[in-house]
Symmetry: D2
Subunit: 158 residues, 4 copies
């Protein structure tokens, strides 16, 4: 049931790590849990992990030189068409996490990101998820993934 | 410190009550606390009361015959320029509340709503607040309050 | 890619429908999109559908006679361990939706809900998703699903 | 109507600035708008500014050496009893802001924070607000402000 351990080692620069288990390279960004993110069970409400994923996604695109705001400014949007999440450990108030993000599949009209959130202090895997996005123009019509995004996928460190 | 008791009695129909203490008439709508609204203190996170206020506001405008979606469709927007809230008692998960909403000041380019949230079961006042909105056209330029909104203010039961 | 049409017909009482396509019975509750739920693309932010799912879940448990607040009061919690969502059409501000919820798998320590959200006016399927929950005691230790929840699963109309 | 300009100059270290207009010293932290924070008007939903305020508050307490998580661990809670906000300019997706936070009034059982959010690039004042908190013990009974918090107020740079 539990996935293989997430076991990151340093990669190119400190914004990237490689998971020794899977061999995958991930971009990462550090973030801390707000009171606003928690619910009465004392830990982060399940839906709020998608905020963290958005932050990971925005951060990797910016670090690759293609901030999502510019992608939209160029006439493309990337609405989410599917997502999934598995939870292994909860995050509590004020906990620090690493949000790891990795561009994975690149299809003609779709792109996919995978995420691993881990606890900064303890290192354990908090959750694993993905978001799949469809390329569309400003009128919402599906179109081929724009060249800038294609390039981001191709230049992501392997 | 504590305000005078909120003491509602039935008014015109069951969507409206009159507060015996202040004499003010309020529209009301019933709502229940979700897990998503709470935080790790076990009660509703302070900022989430503004969702409830939005629901009260949307509900009163719809019941007066001027749903806010139509106001926007006619070319006006009403961004909030000021707001305030005082909290007296917390709301817990699954608690039911009455959201009471009352259009108050109508100025040339601004309108104001006041809100009282009370506990359905116990009747106690949970919080009192207000939102002040500026009329603007689609480009964000302040303009006179639109005639439909003026009419909503004038036809609200007194 | 598109799922078979969601094609509900009346069932036992107006809180339940049967999907002619799959034969499954769903509980349903009506809900309307708030401004707070939307994002700058003009439609509901993807993570906010999990609020709607929570509302569906809370509503079906209440209507079956086992409000989740009572489940927790009896010493059980049901944190989400996995979830998934596929989006077919967006929901816009002020749109009304039906949230359809169906208890599905009942395992020794886990339960699962499936959801279909459809547009009240147009009838189209907005999204389909699921949440899987693990039964735990107040210290977070996995335990067998409590008898009240088992009973809710067994009495859900088929 | 418009407040005097917010005109910050460097102070002790780069986490603090002094507003030349008012003479007040503020702690500051940089933050960027997520898609999740916006609504269909294209800018940040009014209630989401309270997330930013929470982040400012948490950050100043941590930098003063008294993280709020430790305050709670020592048996005190500081629920908000009143808040207010005035909006001057909107923030759009991906905009960077400075969240300025300043501990102000220290009463026997209450403390107050004031906030100014400004646009990193343009420098304009986005909004100004406050939160007032009541000291309470773990059972929610109002008590004198704890000595650690008193000390934080006293050591905040002036």
């Amino acid at each position: 049931m539990q996935p293989a351990p997430f076991d990151p080692e340093p990669h190119s620069d400190d914004r990237f790590v490689r998971d020794r288990t899977s061999g995958h390279v991930y971009h990462r960004v550090r973030h801390r849990v707000l009171y606003a993110d928690t619910d009465r069970s004392g830990v982060v409400y399940h839906a709020n992990y998608f905020r963290y994923f958005e932050q990971g996604r925005a951060s990797v695109m910016r670090d690759l030189g293609y901030p999502y705001a510019e992608v939209e400014a160029s006439g493309y949007v990337y609405p989410i068409v599917e997502l999934g999440l598995r939870y292994f450990h909860p995050l509590a108030y004020d906990d620090e996490m690493w949000i790891h993000t990795r561009p994975t599949e690149l299809e003609k009209v779709r792109v996919k990101f995978e995420y691993v959130i881990s606890h900064v202090e303890g290192g354990e895997r908090i959750c694993t998820g993905f978001t799949q996005h469809c390329a569309a123009n400003e009128r919402g019509v599906p179109v081929a993934v724009d060249p800038v995004t294609v390039n981001a996928w191709k230049t992501f460190p392997r």
